[in-house]
Amino acid sequence: MKRPASYALALALTCALIPAAVVLPGLAATTKGPAAGKTVKIGVIADVTGSAAVYGLQQKDAYELANDDLKSGLLDAGGANLTFDVEDSASDGNQVANLFQKFTTDGSAMIVGPTLSGEARKGDPIAVLAKTAVVGTSTTADGITSIGPCVYRVSLAEAQVVPATVARTKAVWKYKTAAIIFGDDNAFTKTDGDIFKTQLEKAGVTIVDTETFHVGDKDFAASLTKIKAAKPDVIVLGALAEEAEKIIQQAATLGIKTHMMGGNGLNSTKIYDYAGPAAAGVVVGAAWSINGNYTGNTSFVQRFKKKYGVEPDQFGAQAYAAAQLSAQLVKDGKASKDEMCAALRDLRVAQTVLGPIAFDPGRDVKAAPVILQIEKGGFAYFH
């Protein structure tokens, strides 16, 4: 019987071609751009140790992976010798300043980082004075990009994401009252809380209770008991992952079954790893989805997990996106400090694991927020 055999052969050939189709383009991707042969170094400032290490370590890992990918050709820098020089700012303002100074005087073409908005406020002005471009990957507070004409940002600000989160959830959940719980001693969580409050009120929602906590708090029973008594239609979290996961679980323990939503800080697998079934249904307004099928995202997630044993979170993804952006700029021939600022301004679009990104006139990233919902131990798109 020839037919089954030939079908089997066709099937076998197709199966052999699929991995080749995935791998070969990567291998063949290195081209020769105008900057071929030049050595380009980009300085990375990340809090690998210290209080912000949970974020900075992801960032360092992403850039180290990018360095590997540059060597193997998975990331194409047009033949130029591009490396990311990752330095630890140890969550210490002084070290942030020193590293900014180092990278503005040692021939680095550009600076990527720092990890926290507060650090950006301390360090970006140094780069501005030295006319070095800075690309932030995790700074989401207001007023960062207005620090100077070469300060860019690939991280979607809360101000850009929250309106979409509110609009989409209100359309589906149709809530009239809300309670907000946010961290009042951290610039990100506080901004998050404030922006949610403004957006909710704009949408005609009444805030029935506002609670605050401090970063590092573990026990939210008191605040949640109060929120429960106020009977809101939705609970809003202005928090980072460590606190958010506990709030979600402790809410479930107290028998709170209200809808919950939050911002970028909740975009981490830790939330459902920790809170388990309690996290089902939580909506997260984010800038990236681990399941998104943007340029190289799936393979990025796989390679990251293979190299480090953990999945990347949004911090890691945004860092890798900056690496992709940098590679693209270098491939286009921008190799020196003076060229980078204009190159960023003139960038039409960069294909990254966050999706296609571009910059608006305010130097913030133009990208669509991703509204996710946690279900069955993973993130799905909210509908």
Binding site: T49, N98, F100, D185
Partner: protein, 278 residues
């Protein structure tokens, strides 16, 4: 000369940090010389930093007047603190002043005018190296001249044996008050300079972590020696940059150095009785 200029261009931030930290160490060392474990320098620094930043941002004051007013405020705060804690000694004084410092930090975190958790940004960088080192040198000279006065003798006597001091007519309360206020003034100058050289301040800059740092500098350098305190500050400020090649081991090395100095270098630490049996 260009080698120097190049070195400065690449390290001016670090050089400024050394100067500021030396000032902070000096401010604590005065209290320690009187045997007072008053650990509120970070709070005094914070008060002054915020006041000078607010004056610069909202009222466009230039550095010198802002700095002086800020330091005056921190001195007043220090003086006010001296009153309730006048009967405390040793570790109890330390804890009370730490509590005070935390309260100040939380107040800064919760007020609108200090920008809350988001802090104050865009502070004009007027405190350049000449300003920082100029202040440091003036303060150092001032302290050196001060050390030759009779009052300085009284301070040393209070540290060595408070009861003996009282019996020869030293007003111990006044000595403690003055040293705390002086510490507040110097920390205030450092705070204003800090705000004007860092572009941005946030309440977390002035909390227990900073206070711990300042204390460690003084202990490493030598508690009764202002020069030692300043040197301790300089060394420990430069250290993280100097051992950057150690990457993730820097923290461990920090702790180890602290331990080694404390255990094996009693010079400056021995013979100082900051703690008395009642």
């Amino acid at each position: 000369m260009t080698v120097l200029a190049e070195f400065y261009a690449a390290h001016s931030k670090l050089i400024d940090q050394v100067g500021l930290d030396a000032l902070l160490a000096l401010s604590l060392s005065i209290s320690l010389q009187a045997g007072q474990l008053a650990l509120a320098q970070a709070a005094f620094m914070g008060v002054a930093a915020y006041i000078s930043a607010i004056l610069a941002l909202n009222a466009h004051w230039s550095l010198l007047p802002a700095m002086l007013v800020a330091a005056l405020c921190s001195t007043i705060v220090a003086g006010l603190l001296a009153l309730p804690v006048r009967r405390l000694r040793g570790i109890f004084l330390a804890i009370a002043t730490i509590a005070f410092g935390e309260i100040v930090r939380i107040v800064a975190n919760n007020l609108q005018i200090s920008g809350g958790a988001e802090g104050l940004s865009g502070i004009p960088p007027d405190a350049t190296t000449p300003w920082i080192y100029g202040t440091l040198i003036l303060v150092a000279i001032g302290l050196w001249l001060f050390s030759r006065t009779k009052f300085a003798l009284a301070i040393a006597l209070v540290r060595e044996d408070e009861n003996a001091a009282r019996s020869v007519g030293v007003d111990v309360g006044f000595v403690r008050f003055t040293t705390l206020a002086m510490g507040g003034a110097i920390a205030g100058l450092a705070g204003a300079l800090y705000a004007h050289s860092n572009f941005f301040i946030t309440p977390a800059d002035f909390g227990f972590g900073r206070m711990e740092q300042i204390l460690v500098w003084c202990v490493i350098g030598g508690i009764t020696s202002p020069l030692g305190a300043a040197i301790g500050a300089a060394l420990l400020t430069i250290l993280p940059e100097a051992i950057r090649f150690l990457a993730d081991y820097r923290d461990f090395v920090n702790g180890a150095i602290l331990l080694v100095v404390v255990l094996f270098a009693p010079r400056g630490l021995a013979g100082i009785r900051l703690w008395r049996r009642g």
